[in-house]
Symmetry: C2
Subunit: 630 residues, 2 copies
Amino acid sequence: MTHGYLGKVARIDLGRRLVEVEQPDESLYKKYLGGRGLGVYYLFRDLPPKIDPLAPENEIIFATSVITGIPIAGMSRFSIIAKSPLTGGFGEAEAGGFFGSELKAAGFDALIIRGRSENPVYLSVLDGSIEVRDASPLWGKNTKEAQEEIRGELKDRLVRIASIGPAGENLVRYACIVNELHFVHGRGGLGAVMGSKRLKAVAVRGHEKVEAKDPEKVRQLQDYMRTRWKENPGSVSRSTLGTADIVMPLNALGLLPTRNFQGGSFEKAEGLSGETMKSTILTGTDGCYACPIRCKREVRAPEPYETNPSYGGPEYETIVAFGPLCEIADLGAVSKANELCNAYSLDTISAGSAIAFAMECYEDGILTKEDTGGLELRFGNADAMLQLLEMVAYRKGIGDLLAEGVKRASDKLGKGSSRFAMHVKGKELAMHDPRGKTGVGLGYALSPSGADHMQAAHDHAFAKPSRYVESLGIVEGIDPLSLDAEKVRMFVYAHLWWGLLDCLGVCKFIFIPHSAGVLTPHHLVDLVNASTGWETSLWSLMKSSERGLDLARCFNVREGFTRADDNLPQRLFDELKSGRQKGAKINEQDFQRALQLYYEMMGWNQDGVPRATKLQELDLEWTLQQISSN
Amino acid sequence: MTHGYLGKVARIDLGRRLVEVEQPDESLYKKYLGGRGLGVYYLFRDLPPKIDPLAPENEIIFATSVITGIPIAGMSRFSIIAKSPLTGGFGEAEAGGFFGSELKAAGFDALIIRGRSENPVYLSVLDGSIEVRDASPLWGKNTKEAQEEIRGELKDRLVRIASIGPAGENLVRYACIVNELHFVHGRGGLGAVMGSKRLKAVAVRGHEKVEAKDPEKVRQLQDYMRTRWKENPGSVSRSTLGTADIVMPLNALGLLPTRNFQGGSFEKAEGLSGETMKSTILTGTDGCYACPIRCKREVRAPEPYETNPSYGGPEYETIVAFGPLCEIADLGAVSKANELCNAYSLDTISAGSAIAFAMECYEDGILTKEDTGGLELRFGNADAMLQLLEMVAYRKGIGDLLAEGVKRASDKLGKGSSRFAMHVKGKELAMHDPRGKTGVGLGYALSPSGADHMQAAHDHAFAKPSRYVESLGIVEGIDPLSLDAEKVRMFVYAHLWWGLLDCLGVCKFIFIPHSAGVLTPHHLVDLVNASTGWETSLWSLMKSSERGLDLARCFNVREGFTRADDNLPQRLFDELKSGRQKGAKINEQDFQRALQLYYEMMGWNQDGVPRATKLQELDLEWTLQQISSN
């Protein structure tokens, strides 16, 4: 049996144990495509304003797209979307692996889950049939135990499982959702939303094949990808070293966030590099559905931090968050932190950032040994870091405070600790320092989901003209350090472009020429048309992306977000203290001017609210009654 | 010898007899593409504000594009651009034929002609070499005589010639430029600009082949076009009947402009139809470079209106302007009017409109026999019409007044005659009545060059979803009669799309599915990439189109145009008096609201001026000092 690019959408109410299945009109897919687009469409329509993200009324939406399941490298990601417990606004997180294509093969484009179950449950989604099943025996268990028990119960080792561990159950505001133990929907605390619904896991299995409308075109793209990626040094590096391949280059550039963003280089970086990982603890690699690059790592660290390869290995973000950011140089400890996060369902970026925050507070005297339960919480203390992770997951001692994220923690702590809280909209910064790539700063400030490094192709992609950049409408190279109109234009176009990838569930690496990327926007248009039989264009797809982005903005506006929430932590306006960019800082006035320019280039008003006419232009008239935009 | 998509740009100063040749940077082509884009770029940069369009400082620019010369149907058009003597603003006119590809084969992408010669001259552009040659013996002659003499002098029957006749020399404000006697740059009075420069003609010949970067892709598109056009009823109809194929359908719809736009149907329309032409006076057909459809007509009308087939035959616009609009039912007389216009270099649309205006004034008593020199200027008087054409071309009697266009004529006449002057920005309406297709009304009002029917794909193209419309980002069908936000959105997208075709020098028919069209936007992107080796996208191309459109708008703003100039003649807000749409009218308030919506969707302010931030977004920062946009 086969089916095409249009599946079904299931609405599951966990409180009432109701499952409703609908088949949306094709025009909905043409407008929203999937992923972020489809998710924000349902979230905006379904949610009453200003609900508690942990209330039953919140929805958690698993959304694939019109190309998910097409067996081409990079097309396997899917989005999970909910109101975020960390930011209180639009929350989204994407991950690769096999779950997305499996969900599609099971006949569903999206699952929309609401309500709260009395007892812990999990969802089984098996070939078109959805069941709410008891998960009481699984509650309290880590992700690996949960996965094994569900697979046993369903008697199928190939069931794909996205689950939470104790951190999600305990409503840690940056709890993540872990699928297959090492593909992670990391950011924004969506694991806590699952926890609040008493939803331990979602298990999917599908035997239907997703068939493209133009299989020949798909084969051509497969062939192209198969031969080309090996000729691209970036893809080969990513394949060989994983995302950790950028540890040393960024350290050399002076842009490796160190000591809670005080510095930009770490003298012991080499011990944390992809090269070191490969020559020491690497036991294998893994990849997503249909991808030959296999950038995922599997490691087994030795004593005292012995790790289980089932949980994969640390990625760049994880390495830096638990390494340089906390001044920890031990790759074993970092790998252990990674394992704990995947077992407990903790976002490694926010967790590392929360620990670095606590360390800086401790060294500054804002936190004392009394607060930490005796932990000597200095930068560099690997054992303290690992203990703290457990305390966060179980909300024990100081872990309870840190489980709230750095913004809330610093609000509660007071004593000037907010200057150490590196976040935007409550979400902790990723491991990229905007003082060396201002576009990333715009991305942090303007992401609808808070500080996110995957909002827009980073500045260096636009540093010189290329075929890739050309198709996005940028003709001349743009300075990574500027914040002028050209930079903002680049950012607008790049924001729409990467937003499109989040609507389609596409791996961004595959589309960055000097990263793993060998594909260009042209290929993506071809692929959407090959999958759907449509005749869309990059113009039309970018309009869909803008639709999703503006709708996410509208969601936040309705929640009460204002221009003041598009900010950066003060530290980024101060000088970097170490590394090649020592002394670099972002000019705050220039940054504010750039934000204003962005609003206006996007057709938003000076308060950052999409103008009524922009919403009309995007076929979003229906939102007008809910936000006062002009 | 071959050359590629990048040629040279020649600047010719007729006063100083100076020829300068430059090779623009490729980035200029990436931003502006050619045609309108390139033309308005030079015009805006070079012209001081508020000069007299007939002064030597005006420039007349012949501009091809990065795909001109690629031998595929529909890609042969080129633009002529100048400040318009008819509107006082941005003026542009496009025509097909062979001149554009010949200019490219001669090594030039654009000719920029300024100054005024003391004596009449013509330009010869022969294989990279440009000469200013004496045309004194040609002055006063019609276009055919001029063409033959120049070909004789240059000893080459294949020299392609664009020239003016007496109307251009006599500065008739709607004088056109005629190439090959029947491909006409009709609108906006650009022939008068040539006349004011004492430039009789431009003659081009090139032997260099224009080579595409990807000849195989070009061959594929050729093959596609070659087989597909015959399967498309619209193309076959256009091939069989020419553009006159729409006379009967539009009459049946009640949208055939009749009696100076009083009515919408003409009881004698059949005698003017493409079918009648074919079965009576048609002697042959002609087509543009590389086009198998051959929609151009050649006719020989019998006595008393015997015509010479060298001047071709009347197109739809010409037929209606001299037929129903003047209530004239004689195809011979209409064909004669067409011949006279091509011989004298008069725009048939404006000329027919000026005559209909005069007829209505006459019947209303505003003009008398005394004014007309004895002509009985009633609707339906074919002989009077033909006499009047000569009087206009030579500015004799009442012809001198009508040579100014209906706006200036009605201003001078007074007595309420302005209600019969069917124009926008001084340019006479084309033969499409917006009361049945409101998007055409938006096009008339918002065209930077005044009332123009080729601004945006007409409403019926969007009446139901199609693959064509899909690639432009419109998912659902749109009502041809509405003026709501959906219609304005459709118009914005369509305006950018057809504007793109004017930047690339592309025949719009080839891209209208139910007209001659078999190609879609996807093919155009492929073609640009095949020609240039770029990797552009519809997104990037639409940005280039918007750049050209906004720059043309800025040109008009700098000239002093305001929101009030974006209007329609009052008659269109009144009821149609005959035909199937009898009683139809445009709601003026709705129309004003739609204009406002358009401005804001385009990123213009409420006065219709592009916002500074929009200009920055389009890489047009450099215009900011010249217009105060915010």
